[in-house]
Amino acid sequence: MNDFVIQTNALTKRYGHILAVDQLSLEVPRGRIFGLLGPNGSGKTTTIGMLLGLVRPTSGSFSLLGSGTSHAEALHRVGAIVEQPYFYPYLSGRRNLAYFQGISGRGSPKELDDLLEQVGLADRAGDRFQTYSLGMKQRLGLAYTLLGDPELLILDEPTNGMDPAGMAEVRDLIRSLGSSDRTVLLSSHLLNEVEQICDSVAILSKGKVIAQGAVGDLLHPQEQVRLRTSEDAKAVEVLAALDWVEDVRIEGEALIVTAPHDRTSELSEALGRAGVYISEITPLQVSLEQYFLEVTGDVAGEIQ
């Protein structure tokens, strides 16, 4: 069995003179919750559109759920929602699901009941889709993606338009969905969402992957400590002399020291020997947001 459920090779999409996706090479490991993070216009939705056969790639290739199956067959094992859930406005939630179950040729009425229950729509299942709130539409969208118990879920901005309680609920649901063998590809422009849910992440900017890896690795590229001391200038001099300290700089009224967290006591000891007293010592964790700001530069402002 292939370890990657999605592999893209130099996937490119051009709309006239606009390069939406540029030579994208991506590998999504099986059984993980994989985040696709990027600002609006970074090519996330176009990439997903190509994977789902909605958008024709200009060049490059990809495989979905291994190369042994046709794209259409692979799609039968995928549940996906792109941007926002679009359903027939005059049909009820239940009939919408019944239709999509029917055209796939699989499933049972009991599956519909279970899914509607799972996403908390059982009470409103008989109402027309056009009467649903955005949050309810998103829930129905989630139920739709789960039809046929797919191996791979592709969710594009699944909490879009939801209130905070709904967002938390859906995030829990996604986490639980990804806890089995199922793979989840979550596209979002919400950093904290990706940070909370995903195991791995690829950061897209201007149609390119600019960073990819485990969320933990991206969160801890550098370990830093913030110090408040009695004499900052002398402290910089002392710490800079230590060969395991990578960097020392003064930021406002504090020092930011780049050094392993497990050697914090040695920092304290060295400063104490030099007669510099520490009033505060705080290990810093680089957030995904900070990392994102570093790697994306000017487009980062669009990320929330």
């Binding site: 789902l52 909605l54 024709r56 039968h76 995928v78 929602i81 679009y86 005059y90 055209i103 040729g105």
Partner: protein, 346 residues
């Protein structure tokens, strides 16, 4: 593969059945057919063309007296010698001879008009009423309604953004479009049948007050079946046109506007170009002319065409087949290749 298309067709019906649009189209089709039928009935009951056609006679008597009188075909049919509404004795023999000639000529015209009137009356009785309805009302208004249906079925998928949701399920694009075309064809057949049944019922009711109804023999039924087959065949190129336009514009509104607009504008343009000799040579290849020729609209009232000689059955059938294949092929090719975006709202 065919089984999959049929399964998709069943699910297309699942959706369509619950939409308001096909039922509204059905009601409009029934209303138009009934309006045409009962208007004709009222026309026939009021005496028809015989009462509408009249001629004014004028003569000058020998004393310089001027006399005019107006006759209708209905009146001249009842006239016997010496029953004229004026005393012709006062006129000169030449004047009387001229009036007699004019009256004879008018009577001949009236015989033709009365024959036409009989034909219209006959066309209201079953089973002729069904053929007339197919060749005139449905071949014109029916085509427009079928185009609206055909453009709406794929077009609304773009407007609501649901095409994306459908394709994500792994449904093949050509199978999906084929199922939409098939459900359009089936619903068009159903719509035509219902309209004809209602016309048939109206016709039976009308026959109670109109004389000359006939029992339907085997020959009549086979003629009706042929006419119905021809009607459905006429729908095909227009369905292909409407589907292509909605796929091309990714919108049901635009698809309907362009295809129905083309249908109507084509009739007007043909009317204008018919006065040019060069047009005669290419008119066979115009879709509307081919459809009119195929449906023999010149033999029936209310239909399009009627300008110049219409194409015969075979060339008309081939022209419509060519339109169906080319327009339908383009629609499938485009649907297969086109990127699918979210909802467009149109």
């Amino acid at each position: 593969m065919i089984g999959h298309v049929l399964s998709l067709t069943r699910w297309e019906w699942f959706k369509l059945y619950r939409r308001r649009m096909p039922w509204v189209l059905l009601l409009i089709a029934i209303a138009i057919a009934q309006l045409v039928f009962w208007s004709t009935y009222a026309f026939v009951q009021s005496g028809g063309p015989a009462n509408q056609t009249s001629r004014l006679f004028a003569a000058t008597a020998t004393a310089g007296e001027s006399v005019t009188f107006d006759l209708t075909c209905g009146e001249i049919g009842d006239l016997r010698e010496g029953d004229l509404p004026v005393d012709l004795e006062r006129f000169s023999p030449e004047e009387r001879e001229r009036i007699a000639r004019d009256l004879q000529e008018f009577a001949e015209d009236c015989r033709s008009v009365i024959g036409q009137s009989d034909s219209i009356r006959q066309s209201m009785l079953p089973p002729h009423s069904l053929r007339v309805s197919m060749h005139s009302t449905l071949a014109f208004f029916g085509v427009i309604l079928v185009m609206i249906l055909a453009a709406s079925i794929p077009g609304t998928e773009y407007g609501w953004g649901t095409l994306r949701t459908v394709l994500i399920r792994g449904v093949g694009r050509w199978q999906l479009l084929a199922s939409k075309a098939l459900v359009t064809a089936l619903v068009s057949v159903g719509l035509s049948v219902v309209v004809l049944v209602v016309v048939g019922v109206a016709s039976v009711i009308a026959s109670l007050t109109l004389e000359g109804g006939e029992l339907v023999g085997f020959g009549e039924w086979s003629d009706l079946a042929v006419s119905f087959g021809k009607l459905i065949y006429v729908y095909l190129p227009y369905v292909a046109l409407a589907v292509l336009m909605s796929v091309l514009s990714s919108s049901s509104g635009m698809g309907i506007a362009i295809s129905v607009g083309y249908y109507i504008i084509e009739q007007i343009v043909v009317g204008i170009l018919a006065s040019f000799d060069w047009f005669e040579g290419i008119s066979t290849f115009v879709l509307g002319r081919a459809a009119s020729g195929w449906m023999d609209v010149d033999e029936f009232s209310f239909g399009p065409g009627g300008i110049g000689a219409l194409p015969d059955d075979l060339p008309a059938a081939l022209v419509m087949l060519a339109y169906t294949v080319i327009l339908g092929g383009l629609a499938f090719w485009l649907f297969q290749r086109k990127d699918v975006a979210g909802a467009k709202g149109g």
